[in-house]
Symmetry: D2
Subunit: 291 residues, 4 copies
């Protein structure tokens, strides 16, 4: 849905997860009320109301939120510590800072830049980094800084180091918009922010390189795309969103790739939007995605 | 999702709607906690947190719900009266009683009977009424009583009176599963339970009779079906669910009808399931459908 | 689309496949014309017009088709032999004979029986065979013979032998409608007719047993079903049709299974209909499916 | 599917429509063979093989097509005149010239420009005309000429005259990419090329202005978009393509509009691609769209 930044002023998102237990929801909603805030929306999920894991997302409106923020955090600490749950509170009027890493393909990259310009992604984009230069002009035409970090040659570690230096302290999450380089474990250890990828298949089908070629060889009747958080296990991270498109026997692997591009850009855009809106909670190798 | 009646024991659904106001959510969740119940799920929607309309559905689990039910209702009355909101509390282990009215078509009817037998609809079906007899054997093979109430002739009022006599006191809602008779205003005044219809078009396109013929004439590329609550304005009641299917130039009106039957049975089944699970709230000519 | 058996009288389907070459289409269409037939529809696909593989499906109408059938076959032999292509001609008014093998699940089985009764599957169903008895009454209520062939015990070969004995000479293809027994290579060697299966995942994801449990563990956001011809490589046969449904984090493996049942019955029904209408051509491990 | 202009060299599309009759298909395919061409694909549709309307699209490959083009046209005239059918032959390597008319919205416009740059639309774009200037820079960044023709004021005829002057002789079809001006009958009389529009609703629902507002008021659960040829009857022209997206009660009319933009750009892009590839045949108020 369209994000009007003005409409997000004085709105906070509270994410709570931990062991489910009686009274937890009442404790949270009472806390919100006594901090003079109005609940705008509330979603929750419990793997089992008796002894399972509890996940909750509450959006509330509180006039002069900035002034009250520290007090609400203090109240949350005091109120929720006895329950042994994790929580985080974010001010919705402060957009997350998103870096995009890309290679030569422009379809996912331009879709994100364009949705951002339309005001549909509640983020700022401090930089786009690519190991190629062909997208530089397009990126800059959106008023976004572009950095070229080549990745060829034996020492890919140097490229990663350069990227980490650009990202450090400047971003809240990273999006791999068809970035065609394997991310090392070292990079993931040092990046300290979530990394979201788009894989060009309906995972777990066609893991690894060349999924459209593999899809053609297997003769599937649908192709797909999967957006997931990046972990050290390639193509195995927690899935945020997936979708598919119908194909037929007459399409070549190249046709599948062209058709798939439209699925990829839509799936990645939704995943990015949901992450930026604090709708996604990682739990083990899964995600909870609140609507 | 599958409904296991056992799993619904000691579960209640609380529906609240009325003017939104600070503290309302906290009041409700605190009430649930002090009545020794655990919140299983909670969904809410507000047209505007400041002065808008508030809608909430809470599912909670309370051991020995039956014994505590009257006390919880008393507490709700005392707690919520100051807020000026409407509420209703239902025991999820008591299935709603659903009557089905049908004519000669069997696709919506059999789908409902079959989903009910699979345990996917939390209802009992005390009767199927038809103005034809061709579906009688099928209905009875599911162990459901079948009543034939012919509707031809000048005096349709007599048929309606007979149907009302069968329904009275025996059902909680009525489903028109391609019942091809216009329901009179008198009938709606006297039935005193919600009536759910399936219309064989993507409303508001192709209102009235013969929608597949009209769809063929207009040359649409998708056909649809719409399930809605029946009101005195034909085909104008609050929409619960809609869906579509792709068609092409080569299909005749009869082909569209055959393809559309699959959309109709799916759309009606979802609408019935959601109604039976107290997921649907009517407001004006709209519905709020909680997932 | 609805199949009206009457409408298929005097209609033939000609399937041609082999090396593509100039003049082939003209030779075929001219042959049809000189045999006093009208082309009703014509679909073709070529992997490469210069030296690729050619696939064609022509439906034509010829008054008194039965009387002319042998002459047309003779003309086809003489005309097409020089081109080195395979062809088969079928009289559309003669429905294929379809056997269904099932276990305890009824959703795919009943969907096929019901679509058949509606006149939407151009087949006869001489028998349903199950290794369980729970579906017997339902099957017989459709007027279809039911045979119980238990498969437990060490000697599964005996059960397969019994099934082969029932099928032999009586059927043109076999449908495994969630038949939960592994089919042996011996069975496939001896059955001499195509066997169509429905796998309860979006192949090649989740090959083997327990796909819904695996889907829950992987945390996918869509589940699927795949209908394919059975080959000696389990779950690796040529795919005829696939589809998916959206799921979310709140659904258990059992919920996925319940939701998936609706995808399975739709996918299998489409695959069966297309096979019965001679719309599917196997080529290597792929299928060509003409619309 | 991706269009590689190189791949279209020496390819022609033949469209034939008229009264169906025996021998017509054979006459056409024989003609193609005797002109030393290979049939690449062939689709046809007949409203009734006995006396109905016949529609055919044949793609064929003929080395040195340009040199042979006039001879093939002459052969077509001689061969098909006795059948009384219409036909047109187009050289696929000559892209159609497409003008785009836009207003302030950029989503349909940029999608077309971007797909064109990717090589997915077999057209040239000699101009974009808008009654506003906000999209000028974006258009020119794609290397496409932009013309500003203001349309406010009492004399809209002057603006139309100016647009007609720009189009005359320069374009093969016109696309209204959310051009928010009513096209006059005079304009349609004088433009002499097909005009394709995108309407922001699932026609015939919500004809006229403000469809998203009307959709919100009616409480529909799906919104849609429709691409059609423009005729003198507003929103009543032959439909080329339609699609829908799911919405829910929580979305405002503005949210519906934002969601709908993605349906609009996809539907219009498909319609434009199919028109540019000569896949669409108008017949009365319908279209035949060959896959």
């Amino acid at each position: 849905m369209t994000i009007h930044t003005d409409a997000l002023r004085d709105h906070a998102v509270l994410i709570v997860h931990g062991p489910d237990q009686p009274g937890l929801v009442a404790a949270i909603t009472t806390l919100i009320t006594r901090n003079e805030a109005n609940i705008v929306s509330l979603d929750q999920y419990s793997t089992d109301p008796a002894g399972g894991d509890f996940f909750q997302r509450v959006v509330f409106h509180r006039p002069d939120l900035t002034a009250a923020f520290a007090d609400i955090e203090k109240d949350l600490t005091e109120t929720l510590t006895p329950y042994g749950v994790h929580w985080r509170l974010t001010d919705q009027s402060i957009p997350k800072r998103m870096a995009i890493l890309a290679s030569t393909s422009d379809h996912c990259l331009l879709e994100l830049l364009w949705r951002h310009r339309r005001g549909e992604l509640p983020v700022t984009i401090p930089m786009v980094i690519s190991n190629h230069t062909n997208v530089a002009d397009d990126v800059r035409s959106f008023g976004i800084p572009f950095f070229h970090v080549p990745s060829q040659g034996p020492d890919k570690a140097a490229a990663e180091t350069e990227i980490l230096r650009l990202l450090e302290g400047n971003v809240d999450f990273v999006v791999l918009a068809r970035y065609m380089q394997i991310i090392s474990e070292d990079f993931l250890d040092q990046v300290h922010v979530p990394v979201i990828n788009i894989h060009h298949s309906f995972l777990p089908a066609f893991i690894g390189a060349g999924p459209y070629k593999k899809a053609k060889e297997r003769g599937v009747k649908l192709i797909g795309a999967t957006s997931h958080y990046v972990t050290k296990d390639l193509d195995e991270g927690p899935i945020i969103e997936q979708d598919v498109a119908r194909v037929d026997h007459s399409m070549t692997a190249s046709d599948l790739q062209a058709r798939g591009a439209y699925v990829e850009r839509a799936v990645l855009s939704r995943a990015v939007q949901w992450h930026a809106q604090d709708r996604v909670i990682q739990t083990g190798n899964h995600t909870i995605v609140f609507p």
